[in-house]
């Protein structure tokens, strides 16, 4: 029972690390990395929910020996996460390109420094 929740706990810890990185680091690239960690943890959560013990990948098995039943893991979370990963990298790229532009406009990617410069103006 307790071990049964292990995957979810790993998810929570990864999520906390990601969240903490986003909130506590002022470097914008580091923040993006934190967001990626956060994302990965959510992927783990979904895929863990879709797993059935003793199940197999959701691709039809053709020659089943008679009398046995095949369990497939739930394909729906897989579909959601599959697309989420690719969309995730596209949005990450968008964020990183904004970071590049910020670096060009301010000469730094540290959030504190940028806020200071804004306050001075």
């Amino acid at each position: 029972m307790i071990l049964g929740l292990f995957n979810y706990w790993v998810f929570v810890i990864l999520l906390m690390v990601g969240l903490y990185t986003v909130m506590s680091r002022s470097n914008l690239v580091k923040k993006m990395i934190g967001l990626s960690l956060f994302q990965i943890s959510v992927f783990l959560f979904y895929i863990s929910m879709g797993k059935i013990s003793g199940g197999t990948a959701p691709i039809v098995v053709e020659d089943i020996p008679p009398g046995t039943e095949v369990f497939y893991s739930n394909p729906l979370p897989h579909v959601l996460i599959l697309t989420a990963i690719v969309v995730g990298v596209a949005t990450t790229a968008l964020g990183l390109s904004l970071v590049v532009r910020i670096r060009e406009a301010y000469g730094t990617i540290e959030e504190d420094d940028i806020l200071e410069m804004e306050a001075k103006d």
């Binding site: 049964g4 909130m23 002022s26 580091k30 879709g50 893991s73 690719v86 596209a90």
Partner: protein, 340 residues
């Protein structure tokens, strides 16, 4: 699993952003292995190609433009830590109400999933349930996601291809581009690195072949448009990294990429509209052929092709935009110096 946590914490601690990026790639790859053990082969595919491949390249491209050292500052931040711990505690508390891991009668498995698992092999007629759910049952969602990728690709192009308007402040950060913190990425890959050249030349055709296999065999085994798209893009990016951007540009240039991004989305939408014209709902493939199952086959094949084309082109557009940025700035600077 514990490796994951260790990796994540090190990512948080390490100062050098380059090292952090590499560690993030390792975390992604470990995650892909875990996905395999959790039966999610399609997802593992995507995660290893995207997480460990393309996103690492993108981060490194960014670091080349912005510098890789994080500023030294007091490490401990009490308020965020407290918030994180509170969130974590709440979530851990919530996990005790979660149904046990892996049980077959969890609520997740009792709603629409049985239909996907039991009916789709006969209704759609392809063995890979992930592909049939992705392209047929949830075709609207996937169309939306392809559009998101399309939009993100266009947005990155708009942001990074923009010319500098203000001229006065150009000097301060231009210097950085020359002193090693950044540099022209298109000069990548000198002619003397024999080993990478030979290896890449050997690998690239196989990567493409594998990409095609994943694209068109996706109905029967793990694979599909998203995975094939990133594999293709990874092949071309490898080529560009080893041989230089100019060679890659001569293989597939920016105009072709822009064209392909839109072609993919149009193909997907076109299949949907074709269904409508034949008297069914948007993205209803049953009418594409006289036999509904054959129609589903055709529809899924075309839709996955559209997805693959858009994903490849969007990833390449993003990559070219990042790599081309340094060149753009350097050429602008040279022009300004000429004018002065």
């Amino acid at each position: 699993m514990l490796l994951l946590i260790a990796g994540a914490v090190t990512v948080l601690m390490v100062r050098n952003l380059f090292v952090a990026t590499m560690l993030l790639g390792i975390v992604s790859f470990t995650m892909a292995l875990i996905f395999i053990s959790l039966d999610a082969v399609d997802v593992a595919f995507t995660e290893s190609a995207v997480g460990a491949g393309i996103s690492t390249v993108l981060y490194i491209g960014t670091l080349a433009l912005v510098g890789a050292q994080e500023k030294e500052r007091p490490k401990f931040a009490p308020v965020p830590l407290l918030i994180c711990l509170a969130v974590g505690a709440a979530l851990i508390f919530a996990t005790f109400d979660m149904p046990p891991f892996g049980a077959a009668d969890n609520p997740v498995h009792t709603h629409v999933a049985p239909r996907y698992v039991h009916v789709s092999p006969t209704e759609i007629g392809i063995p890979n349930m992930v592909a049939s759910v992705l392209a047929s049952y949830r075709g609207y969602d996937t169309f939306g996601e392809v559009t998101v990728i399309f939009t993100a690709g266009i947005a990155v192009l708009l942001i990074l291809r923009q010319q500098r308007r203000r001229k006065g402040d150009a000097d301060s950060d231009m210097v950085l581009l020359r002193d090693g913190l950044g540099g022209s990425l298109s000069g990548l890959g000198s002619a003397h690195d024999l080993i990478p050249h030979v290896i890449a030349k050997l690998l690239v055709p196989f990567i493409f072949l594998f990409g095609l296999y994943v694209q068109f065999h996706g109905d029967f085994g793990p694979g599909g448009g998203f995975q094939a798209g990133v594999i293709f893009a990874a092949g071309i990016i490898l080529y560009a990294l080893v041989f230089g951007l100019d060679f890659a540009r001569s293989v597939i240039n920016e105009k072709a990429i822009l064209f392909l991004i839109s072609i993919g989305v149009l193909l997907y939408g076109g299949v949907g509209v074709a269904g409508m014209l034949l008297g069914a709902n948007f993205l209803d493939y049953n009418v594409l052929s006289s036999d509904p199952v054959a129609g589903q086959h055709l529809g899924i094949l075309l839709v996955e092709l559209g997805v693959g084309i858009t994903v490849t082109a969007a990833m390449l557009a993003i990559f070219y935009a990042f790599v081309g940025r340094a060149d753009l700035l350097i050429s602008q600077q040279a022009e300004q110096e000429k004018n002065q």
